[in-house]
Symmetry: C2
């Protein structure tokens, strides 16, 4: 591999000049720049990342900590990841991937100066990683909200608003009894905050819209979905509107409703909270509140980069939910008959 000295020699300039051509931090005359660039081209020179990191205290790498295994729905994770990686490239950064459970990885990458910044997904209410990154010298952005987001940078969908929006949509369509089929019990147990925020919004809006709301936790398996649907329909048989906030369970919920002879979009209105493509790949196109995972990932990177440049203060950003009506929801019992 050619070094910067090789380039300098073949261009007939000093190494610092080459460095300045590369970084643009000092003015270089056009002819000199041209000679240097020709030399770089000719030698196929690539700056050594380690040397650069050592000298400049910048790695141009950000760490992304993602849950590679359980619970959270896989397509959603991938979209977050895709968003983060592509946006990072826009800032000329690469992404180092850490798994959620590798808590010591935080120390490793921050303490070892392997990365300039961190993005962490799937934050729990009382997340053990939060104090660690708060102590790190690298800025961090959390995807999801911990108990106390004070002084931290966070992004997420505004699930509380999403809950309100879903209920408002159903209530306005004339549904008087609605339900949530939500996250698996273990997610609730971990107090992943989105589930709780969702429920809060749901209940708020139910109260002010004057509708009843029943909540069922739901395993992502076919059996779990069946159990939840059955439980719901036996304890709240008047339910005509369901919000499903569980991508994994969604197809199985729909299957169970069908098995019980309920036609979604006619007998039962269903609003899904999930990524657009998941909503579109069900047996019928689902009315849904989009979970813009890729966008959230991108925003996370934008925020972390902002903090890396200027000394932006930390902030938490909640993205407004958007509901798209498709074929799975329809007017309910109390609807004005046009």
């Amino acid at each position: 591999m050619a070094t910067i000295d090789d380039v300098a020699r073949t261009a007939g300039v000093s190494t610092s000049t080459v460095s300045y051509v590369l970084s643009g931090k000092r003015p270089i005359s056009a002819p000199t720049r041209a000679r240097v660039e020709r030399a770089i081209e000719k030698l196929g020179y690539r700056p050594h990342a380690g040397a650069r990191a050592l000298a400049s205290a910048r790695t141009n790498v950000i760490a992304l900590m993602a849950p590679l295994r359980v619970g959270v729905s896989v397509p959603v994770i991938m979209q977050f990841v895709a968003g983060v990686v592509t946006r990072a490239r826009d800032f000329d950064h690469d992404v180092l991937l850490l798994t959620q459970d590798d808590v010591s990885g935080l120390d490793r990458v921050t303490g070892g100066s392997m990365v300039d910044a961190l993005v962490m997904m799937d934050i729990e209410a009382d997340d053990p990683r939060v104090p660690l990154v708060a102590a790190a010298k690298q800025p961090t952005v959390l995807i999801g909200l911990p108990q106390d987001p004070e002084g931290l940078s966070c992004v997420d969908l505004d699930f509380e608003a999403a809950g309100r929006l879903a209920v408002r949509h159903l209530a306005q369509a004339g549904h008087a009894d609605v339900a949530l089929i939500g996250s698996p019990p273990e997610v609730l147990r971990r107090h992943t905050s989105y589930a709780e925020r969702m429920m809060r919004g749901l209940r708020d809006q139910a109260r002010s819209s004057g509708v009843t709301v029943k909540v069922e936790a739901c395993d992502s398996s076919p059996a779990g979905a069946a159990t939840a649907v059955d439980a719901l329909l036996s304890t709240a048989p008047d339910t005509t509107g369901i919000v499903v906030h569980n991508e994994g369970a969604l197809p199985h919920v729909l299957a169970r409703l069908a098995e019980r002879g309920l036609v979604v979009g006619t007998d039962m209105s269903v609003v899904a909270v999930c990524p657009r493509d998941v909503a579109l790949s069900q047996r019928i196109p689902m009315t849904s509140i989009d979970l813009p995972a890729e966008d959230i990932g991108k925003v996370a990177v934008d925020m972390v980069m902002a903090r890396l440049e200027g000394e932006q203060p930390s902030e938490t950003r909640l993205l407004a939910p958007v509901l798209t009506e498709r074929d799975s929801s329809a007017p309910g019992p109390a609807a004005d008959v046009g």
Copy 2:
């Protein structure tokens, strides 16, 4: 951040001694080692990754190039990734994540010495990335097979054997007319080799088992699956055994079969080629040939690490397929009646 010199000073030794304590490359007496370790502990010292990379020409990072977007099924990708990341940690390496389409990323990370080695997923027959990594100084392992794997390291499921196994299973169960519902057309168009290897094995075994085999490409959408099923059943109405090699389409294929009044596991035997958990989360537990994505990822890392240590020659490893009988396959028309 404390440096190695700080540690040396507080331990009362030279920096090289600290370095040797850390690396174990020279014998250090117990008392000295203890003093150094205490100092490290006390100062919370972490070696600077960049400095280390510069001096040792080793980054302890491997690059993983994964398709973060289309085509290939998302859960499978995640399992590959999870396998790679966890196994990399066993070798004290971290993972830098590149997207498939970021071809220039290869140059960047190899030329810039950002990584010690590479793992690339989703290799196509005539993959443009192959010549690039072949020219790189870092060893590379491909997940999937290019046209000519000569001189390259590759891992994959032995799809040809999987095809044979699937047909043999169905043929032995008494099915005389079988079919493949396979990858989306665009995957075939890219000549991703697994699809072709699968078909080859399928046809080979069909010939020697004396059964007919019909092949349908299949989009992963509900509509695509319906089209494929309908086409199959109209052009080959005698089909009683289907191999589905398309995780995304699998649920929709099953749904369409049900819509047409065919009971899977009775009227129609279906063998899925997919990860175990996908097979288990369908409407009924599927007889399947496991696609051990996580294992493949791990093997890829093992191979790449082996090449990093000794000067192992490159090799290609095909994992033997395993078929697990569950509820979606049953004896067919020609079965001996017990």
